[in-house]
Symmetry: C2
Subunit: 356 residues, 2 copies
């Protein structure tokens, strides 16, 4: 199979494009999508760009019963001079294959799929919004489609890429959020699927999210599933703290997702000579540092927000207000740097962007 | 909404029914299925029996991305005098709602859905096979259908019931299986979704299953996710041991599924006056008892097999051969009792069966 095999069936009916400042996340989709099929013995085949349309599946398809599925999320950005940039997309396809390995899903050819992804975004380039903070969200995903109730890996899969124009994550400017430290529900544990981007990891957090919302918190800080003591992730982002001049983020331990923004921030901080360490960090240690006045900044990192500053943490009735609920200078500089590179406003000294 | 609302659209094309001794599990489906829809504000509505056919879903449907889904599994049995029996179906619908609660899915009305389920099985009664050990497998499930990539509970769902005639779990007679005690991968942990029947719990076990198969084992015995010491489940069944005259099964701890066969066996053993206890049981404790010659029987329990005797356990290079790899007398009597009640060959003193 090569890019030569890609077929393109253009849609006759083009949808109106939304006002980019009025788009709710992930509810508007472009005119086309990418699909390819997998059959055991035949491998991945029939790569095609087709009109965005419903998929038709047998009710016994394994995706509905045993959750064999993986996904990715990345973005295309429009620069001021009208170029379209992707941010480290090869990292997403690498991670997709790592997730697939955990879920016993056959790997894709990363180079070929990169070609298909680029072709799809090129075809939909008018859908990439231009306002600051906006982008075209790219969602590759794989679902198990074999119609069988046997608890075993599927013999057939569909790989799809859908595209959704998204508004700014911070339409009114960056406002640090209030977070509940969850000490009852568990997101993931060593030996589980926490390091994989797979569906079941997300809906399993809805109850904790609802609990957080009830007490006025915007999101959840997850602790480890064993001792409920070590900090793991915030919502569906990685988490960083600046404590006494040093930046700390939880070390990858098998239950934390290896975020691409996380990796990029570690590289930038190292480049800047800012002390930074990946290690275990306990919530009680954080609270002690907070009481000593040493917690200077806290922020989540992910594709959606890039940097989402944390203004307040609530843990077992204890409140930690961070940097007077304002974005800290390091958080701001990291945000400006990464988003600047993504949108082509800053020099990409790291070679992270790919122009279509 | 009441049963009065149920609409039935009969299929014009009836499929040929398979030879019941040649049916692989979960690959053959009957002529009809049940469906109903949920919309926030409207609740569950439009209950209907329709021809078995593919479902059409937007590629952004939340089931494909965040795994918000639950399911159940139960069986209809044909008695020697041609009656159709269901085994404790109300327990399945109760558990479905318990699973839904964990996954932030709106509950169904158990009584109404029981009515729909019975109507569907009645319509398909010719599909219930008659050979000993065969049955009609019933798979109710709910999937999140809102087309949105926001990580939040869906505003729309579909509830479906599909039916599949299944052959005997032990076509050549009951053969105890060889099991690998998994000490690397984790099925579930406290605070997670292990007690819920939700898709992600199943595909997350495929790697451990493959590892077990590579070393000649038929299935996996899961240990707890925290200490990797306490016994939880075997494959997708509960596990029981008879040790020194006493039956032991792991206590429900939030990460173990509350099996309906498990519950029934506990009730039968109590009724018989056999000493039985639900408690934590460590794998090293089991091995010590084994070395002392005290492990008399071991068996998994679940809807598919009812009783699946364990003939050999392999744990970190240590082998435990149980009852000379033969089914034990208690396992056999439990199997005969439960299957006898299910098929109407034994008196149902417990009132567990419901006749259609």
């Amino acid at each position: 199979m090569s890019n030569f095999d890609l077929t393109i069936h253009e849609s006759d009916h083009k949808k109106p494009k939304p006002q980019t400042d009025q788009i709710a996340f992930g509810r508007t989709f472009t005119d086309h999508m990418f699909m390819m099929d997998y059959d055991t013995g035949k491998g991945w085949h029939d790569p095609r760009i087709v009109p965005y349309e419903p998929v038709t599946l047998d009710p016994a398809s394994m995706i509905f019963h045993y959750g064999q599925t993986v996904f990715e999320g990345l973005k295309a950005y429009r620069t001021a001079d009208d170029r379209i940039l992707l941010f480290r997309p090869e990292k997403n396809l690498q991670r997709l294959n790592q997730s697939s390995d955990r879920l016993s899903i056959p790997p894709i050819d990363e180079e070929e799929v990169m070609g298909y992804l680029k072709e799809l975004v090129k075809l939909e380039r008018e859908w990439v919004p231009e306002t600051d903070g906006t982008s075209l969200y790219i969602r590759p995903f794989i679902i198990a489609t074999e119609p069988s109730l046997a608890v075993a890996p599927s013999k057939t899969y569909i790989f799809m890429i859908i595209l959704s124009p998204v508004g700014s994550y911070f339409p009114g400017g960056i406002h640090p959020v209030q977070i509940n430290v969850e000490d009852q529900f568990t997101r993931a544990v060593k030996g589980g699927t926490g390091m994989a981007k797979t569906a079941g990891n997300y809906s399993s957090g809805y109850q904790a999210q609802a609990k957080a919302s009830e007490t006025g918190n915007a999101d959840v800080l997850w602790l480890d599933g064993i001792e409920k003591r070590y900090i793991e992730e915030v919502g569906s982002m990685n988490i960083f703290f600046k404590i006494d001049g040093e930046v700390v983020t939880p070390a990858l331990n098998g239950s934390i997702l290896k975020g691409i923004t996380r990796t990029s921030i570690l590289e930038v901080l190292n480049d800047w000579g800012v002390p930074v360490v990946e290690r275990k960090i306990a919530i009680d240690e954080l609270y002690e540092a907070y009481q000593a006045g040493k917690v200077e900044e806290a922020f989540g990192t992910g594709t959606a927000a890039v940097i989402s500053p944390v203004g307040e943490l609530n843990w077992q009735g204890k409140q930690m207000v961070i940097n007077n609920r304002e974005i800290g200078p390091l958080s701001q500089e990291l945000y400006d740097t990464i988003t600047g590179i993504q949108r082509g406003n800053r020099e990409d000294a790291y070679g992270w962007t790919i122009e279509l």
